[in-house]
Symmetry: D2
Subunit: 109 residues, 4 copies
């Protein structure tokens, strides 16, 4: 799979096929997927919890930490996309609409 | 903005311009962004916390709850994309590589 | 109720009577209580998410924020004690034993 | 230390001495402690994330899982008490006051 063709829909298909091949769909209720999403988000927090703001800005300079961060980002995105799949939510359209609303809620100075 | 042209890079640009126009970049350290990401993930959990698995599967049938879920999905994605932007992480490539690794870690039966 | 007699067991009884009077016990599965606990912990994080370390140390100087922090601390403790009640865990003994173990894991210099 | 004398104040002293002996106080800003609290709460969620409500109610029957749950309860309480210490919040009084308020907000039927 060449990366220039990666998009959200393709990743959602890969994730769905992965779960189906392992019979994991019964576990993938929306309630369980949001729990898993929040657990993965906390694993990202764990990497940063004792760092100063300045140290947190340099976190990608250490290859091992950079790999760990990238891995947790992938896990958060994986559960977010699987959640969207089971709920029938389009995440990119949802975010685009939210930015539209925020432009009204928080007018630029 | 027509939705058929939405992609992750375009949303990241909108988010970066939105933050820059409000001078929010100093707040957007990786440490703060992961905290905000985990808070938004928990706001999704809050919607589901007292539901049975069966109720959680029908959550989009109520228009008000469906809107709330979609809104929180947008918030999670917003902070995930802003985090990736400040860290220089490509979230789709990260997820694709993670699925590759998981296919080795969890072979399909 | 005078506060000098407050202890964990008394608060657990108040919480159990409160839930029973409202027929909330069916919702209080361990799975739901840990979700609620994590949501309340995130509401604490939300108060601090954009603060510098220095600002976070002065958070109790503002009466309104101090009240909000105290309120969220109460919510975290409420769900932790209710979880311990349904699981039959003694939280103070658990922590005491954990400190004992940590004294071996992390010897003081 | 005999457990019949355990109370919150004694555990807070043990935790403060433990942190002081290792020079960990500079890391224990309120902002960092709430992050650590939320991470430990999520480690509890992780134990339950794929369980049905019924399985979650039987989680203490397996000794290894029971130990893991008890250990994470201890971690959540440890960070909550350390947070209260640095903020000057009395957690038991905070919870007692919160139950008082909730009795007005949610009158029993």
């Amino acid at each position: 799979m060449t990366e220039q063709h990666l998009d959200v829909a393709k990743l959602q298909r890969r994730l769905a096929e992965f779960a189906a091949a392992r019979n994991w769909q019964p576990f993938h209720t929306p309630k369980n997927l949001v729990a898993a999403l929040s657990v993965e988000a906390s694993e990202l927090v764990e990497i940063f919890q004792w760092l100063t703001p300045e140290e947190s800005a340099r976190v990608m300079e250490d290859p091992e930490t950079a790999h760990r961060v990238t891995d947790e980002v992938a896990d958060v995105l994986a559960y977010l996309l699987q959640l969207c799949e089971v709920l029938g939510v389009d995440p990119l359209a949802a975010l685009n609409a939210k930015i539209d609303r925020n432009e009204h809620r928080f007018p630029a100075p």
